[in-house]
Amino acid sequence: MTAVFDALVEPFRYDFMLRGLFSALLLSVSGSLLGSVLVLRRLALLGDALSHSLLPGVAVAWLLFGRGIVSMLVGALVTGLVIAVGSALLSRLTRLKEDAAFGAFFLVAYAGGIALVSQTGTRVDLLHFLFGHILGVGPADLWLTAAAAGITVLLFGLFYRGIVLEVFDPVFSRAAGMHASWFHLGFLSLAVLNLVAALQTMGVILALGLFLLPATTAYLWCDRFSTMLSLSAALGMVGSVAGLILSFHTGLSSGPSIVLCLGAGLIASAIASPRYGLLHSITIAWRERRAVRHTTD
């Protein structure tokens, strides 16, 4: 029994693991807000593309200024904005639809980022960027994460009504005079801010996992937005703790192991959720078939 307890606690006797843990816990809170909006507004894939496309910005900042947090953030914000505006222009001015424009743009940006990092850095650098490097979470990163999470929670608290209406019923939002034209851009900027904050622990590719997976899992259980937000934050936290323990004992990068733990929760929920799960649908279909057979007999 004590051996199990030790295995669970031991990882967090190290400072770097604790910093990684705090960072992931903070991001679980802001990520639950962002992830829920992404899921409900059907922007999940767009968020995915966005997170990939940040690589070149981060890489350029890294080449020029080293691992400074501020420069990486600025680099990521600039590329995020260029991709968002560029693909919007491309879809408006050419025949391409928004998803194609965005998809194409992010691939090019991603390739550019990989080329940059692999030409100038080592293989290890590239791996760290892509999949996260928990040893690299310094005190400054933790402050950035705390700031990002704080700003996100604050803005969501302040504009909660506007955000709910913008996602749920934009027409009413407009009729009610609560429509905000800056919603989309503001939301993307918040997402980029949190993605950069998640970079060290999760890596560019998997950063969104910490936002998206808890929210999708919570969506399978909840019929209220507020419970979806809290459940998703809680799931993110549990997944982070489990993932870091797994990472510590197996030597797997922290990003993938957190995402794998969250993924296990998602699959279990997709099967077992009492209202929206697979078993539920199968039971209903089976009952209907039986009912039909009985009435035809």
Partner: protein, 246 residues
Amino acid sequence: MPHHDIFRLHDVTVRYGRRLALDGITTQIPCGGLVALVGPNGAGKSTLLRSLLGWVPLSRGEIRLGDLHPRHLHPRLAYLPQRAEVEWDFPIAVREVVAQGRWPSLGFFGRFTAAEKRKVDRALEELDLTALADEQIRRLSGGQQQRMFLARAIAQGADIFLLDEPFNGLDLAASAELLHLLHQWLAQGRTVIAAVHDLALARANFSHAVLLDTRLIAAGPTAEVLNDAHLDLAFRRRMPVLGARP
């Protein structure tokens, strides 16, 4: 309740790019009654409703209620689009949607007090939704979903309801229920301006009608507006099959 309010439309013209959607509409729409907007598809009924909300930039003319531009009228105005394009799988209960009706007055920060809650309860009751208040919205029938949005408008404190084809897709019972409700509202001095396709229904229930075909064909008491000559003018041009007489 201000019965004497009148929407005054003067030379209202709306263009979407090159297409003329409304052409020099000048008329008055009195409040405190049931007003039917009638006309063929593409006649500009939806555009007129959205103009009354102040959402559509007019390329000519103006709309006023009293001295006010429509944009200064909410929360008195409520709008129900043809098909509510809300996210039906949003994790939200009927009561919460109706409570959104209070948000325009409360703004982002106003506190949701017990008095606010009572307004929501009353709106739910008025539209017979109390029993369904805690259901997720996907589980409602089409008619119930429409009633939920009407309840939100009531909670908002609206007294002018702009409804875009509210009878579309309703079965007989739900239509009858909606009509009953509209008549109740009429008795309470509320105003309903609705795009309607069913001429018989309009004749039987709406006191006032506006017949449109991009331009105004006729407006006034329904019986006078929806006569054969006017309908001929409004619809014939759009129906080459009927119009192709020797």
